[in-house]
Amino acid sequence: DQQVKQNSPSLSVQEGRISILNCDYTNSMFDYFLWYKKYPAEGPTFLISISSIKDKNEDGRFTVFLNKSAKHLSLHIVPSQPGDSAVYFCAAKGVGSGTYKYIFGTGTRLKVLA
């Protein structure tokens, strides 16, 4: 049941450049999306979210873009820093659908090279 997919298991980027992480979803009932960052042996840490009434949300170096027609969202990190090296998960939830669960993708391991 792969409702949320991150097709790139890993990504390497030079420090200072842009990192773009992608996420696709299949369920049109999803209308709240989140990105989490995870270091080894730690819990996921919230980064940024977006609801379906928006197509962009920005917070500092992090911007999330949502394309509802394509069922696609992306996370942009500019400029990338070595401390951004972690696994990034996108997550989705259906608002008002009676579901309580947040469904996570498989993650993308980002490595920022100094």
Binding site: K38, G43, A91, F104
Partner: protein, 113 residues
């Protein structure tokens, strides 16, 4: 910043034994969750809990699993008879509303031998 705390950080058990994983959610949160991550795989939903009852559970959450909020602060996950495939990192999470971000604990690494 308030945080979700989980104990123990590591738990090793023999197959067939019962384990209880403990969590203290953020104090004013109302919704509680358990997720797990098998090494290198995705973070999988197990169960959500609200108003002292399970609100949703996944197919993973079978009769061997149970959750409880025994008092006003703790939220526990019990696995009655552990199997080798239960080995994973278990994360507790909480939030104040159904459409708010989840706050995760640092996890309990469960190893079933």
């Amino acid at each position: 910043e308030p945080e979700v705390t989980q104990t123990p950080s590591h738990q090793v058990t023999q197959m067939g034994q019962e384990v209880i994983l403990r969590c203290v959610p953020i104090s004013n949160h109302l919704y509680f969750y358990w997720y797990r991550q098998i090494l290198g795989q995705k973070v999988e939903f197990l169960v959500s809990f609200y108003n002292n009852e399970i609100s949703e559970k996944s197919e993973i959450f079978d009769d061997q699993f149970s959750v409880e909020r025994p008092d006003g602060s703790n939220f526990t996950l019990k696995i009655r008879s552990t199997k080798l495939e239960d080995s994973a990192m278990y994360f507790c999470a909480s939030n104040g509303g159904t459409n708010e971000k989840l706050f995760f604990g640092s996890g309990t690494q469960l190893s079933v031998l």
